[in-house]
């Protein structure tokens, strides 16, 4: 017996299409995120609009991938690694769609800032930039881990989330100081808080995707797991033996 393809080539093709499609959706969200961050940092109205517009495509892709997942379950009654892949994709789709929503929040803040009629003194925090880079890196890493079904790489992404959380709290402290020093900056500072929070949530979604990758690769559900439980899950074999 072989352990590669299914007896049904059509089924193989459907699973391959599912994998490709979720990675394509991931790429779209990555692009949306980087556009939104750039739009906020400049700020740039056209870029902000482009990021908001991309969210529509992300939402459409969510609906379409959900349809493919339901179709696969109905027609193929998947089991074992096929089932884990399909369930994993269904969960990752939701994380990606929510990541898209967070990117849209950043783009809306950029839109507000880019209005030339507003004469605001907005805080330009290097930590927001660094935090955005870290969250983007996490998202890319989680998608790469999915592409290679690499549980170890996924675990590293999960560990990175703590840094993004700490950066958010540091940003919050700086913004509070900023607002106390100059009350005229309260409105743009609050916007910056929402942006920083959106970035922090994107880190959470990337962490969740990494957890789903471990479920797909190892069959272990590590949501809400302690670091020790996570290590144990990873030490379980990557796949069946024999």
């Amino acid at each position: 017996m072989n352990s590669g393809d299914h007896l049904s080539r059509q089924y193989d093709q459907e699973l391959e299409d599912l994998r490709t499609r979720i990675l394509t959706m991931g790429g779209l969200v990555e692009q949306q995120l980087s556009t939104a961050i750039e739009a906020y940092e400049r700020p740039d109205l056209a870029l902000a609009d482009r990021a908001i517009d991309t969210d529509r495509k992300v939402n459409e892709e969510e609906i379409e991938l959900d349809r493919v997942v339901v179709n696969l379950i109905v027609r193929r009654q998947p089991t074992a690694r096929d089932l884990r892949l399909i369930i994993g994709v269904a969960r990752i789709v939701t994380e990606l769609e929510r990541t898209g929503d967070e990117a849209t929040k950043i783009a809306r803040a950029a839109r507000w800032l880019s209005d030339r009629n507003r004469n605001v003194r907005a805080p330009r925090l290097r930590d927001i930039h660094l935090s955005a880079l870290a969250a983007s890196r996490m998202l890319r890493g989680a998608l790469d881990a999915f592409a290679h079904l690499d549980g170890t790489a996924a675990a590293a992404i999960i560990a990175e989330d703590r840094d993004v959380d700490q950066q958010f709290h540091a940003i919050l402290r700086q913004l509070i100081t900023f607002m106390m020093e100059d009350p005229r900056t309260i409105t743009p500072s609050l916007d910056a808080v929402w942006v920083a929070k959106a970035i922090e949530r994107i880190g959470d979604h990337a962490k969740n995707i990494a957890q789903h990758v471990i479920f797909v690769a190892h069959g272990e559900d590590v949501r809400h797991a302690t670091p020790e439980q996570l290590a144990r899950a990873l030490s379980s074999q990557e796949g069946p033996t024999g």
Binding site: M1, N2, S3, G4, D5, H6, L7, S8, Y11, Q77, P78, T79, A80, R81, D82, L83, R84, G219, G239, P240, T241, G242
Partner: protein
């Protein structure tokens, strides 16, 4: 039902051991075993069809046997009620111990008919006797000497109720069993088996000749019956194994490849061969 005094004399009280590879790791606390298969090999003449199988059959649970055609799952099932004894040249090695007393049902000293009183079987194709519904179910109790007729009638009603058939046939108990639908005939065969108060009930692809509605009613019945009897079922339909069973054993080329809780086998099998089979990567 207890074994006859004669069969009690053959009870082998050897300690029961469960092989490490056949104990499901994913179940924190396994229930008590109703039967324990120990190094069971089976030969059709010179051909070895089963290779040293070790397996616990847990009490009041449904255990499904899955595997490709020719893997030995039906051969294995039929060892439990000694059907192989009907053909010359067939030979067993090892033991199947009924617990808790530990009697080996493969022992030459035990009469196959005594085994079959304790281990019932339902076949792939409904096989009612060419007589009335009532007489089909009354056959076993009569054979065991149950008297008077009122007691037999009670037994028949009880068995038909347990097989979820009573309401459909109570007004035509003396009609021919062959007038029933396929699904009803199969439930009648289950009632016939239940009337003997078996400890273990064997199902050999019990729904392969039935439509989806009749299949669903048999599956529902299997789930209900485990409260009173331990069930071992051979099925080609993996979704049926996933739906009905608590434990699943995967067999290939006469060997037990993997045994575990059904959820674990269908979500995260431990052996590559199991995964390839249940995901449709080989048939």
């Amino acid at each position: 039902m207890k074994p006859s005094p004669d069969s009690q004399a053959t009870i082998d009280m050897a300690p029961v051991t469960v092989s490490a590879d056949a104990t499901p790791a994913s179940v924190p606390e396994a229930p008590q075993a109703k039967a324990q298969v120990e190094n069971l090999s089976f030969f059709y003449g010179e051909a070895k069809a089963l290779q040293s199988i070790n397996l616990p059959v847990y009490s009041h649970r449904v255990t499904a046997l899955i595997g490709p055609s020719g893997c030995g799952k039906s051969t294995f099932l039929r060892c439990f009620n000694r059907i192989h004894d009907l053909y010359p040249g067939n030979r067993y090695e090892g033991a199947i111990r009924l617990l808790p007393e530990g009697v080996d049902i493969l022992s030459d000293a035990l009469e196959p008919i005594d085994v079959r009183m304790r281990v019932g079987m339902v076949f792939q194709k409904p096989s009612p006797f060419p007589t009335t519904i009532f007489e089909n179910v009354a056959y076993g109790p009569r054979l065991r000497g149950l008297r008077p007729n009122a007691a037999i009638a009670d037994k028949v009603e009880q068995a038909l109720r347990s097989a979820a058939l009573w309401d459909e046939v109570k007004d035509r108990l003396h009609s021919l069993a062959s007038n029933l639908s396929g699904g009803q005939q199969q439930r009648l065969c289950i009632a016939r088996a239940l009337a003997a108060d078996p400890e273990l009930l064997l199902f050999d692809e019990p729904t392969s000749a039935l439509d989806p509605i009749a299949t669903a009613s048999i599956e529902e019945l299997i789930t209900t019956l485990r409260e009173t009897v331990t069930i071992l079922i051979v099925t080609h339909n993996m979704q049926q194994a996933a739906r009905c069973s608590d434990y699943t054993a995967f067999m290939y080329l006469g060997e037990l490849v993997e045994f575990g809780a059904t959820e674990q086998i269908f979500l995260k099998p431990g052996k590559r061969q199991t995964e390839d089979y249940i995901t449709g990567r080989f048939g």
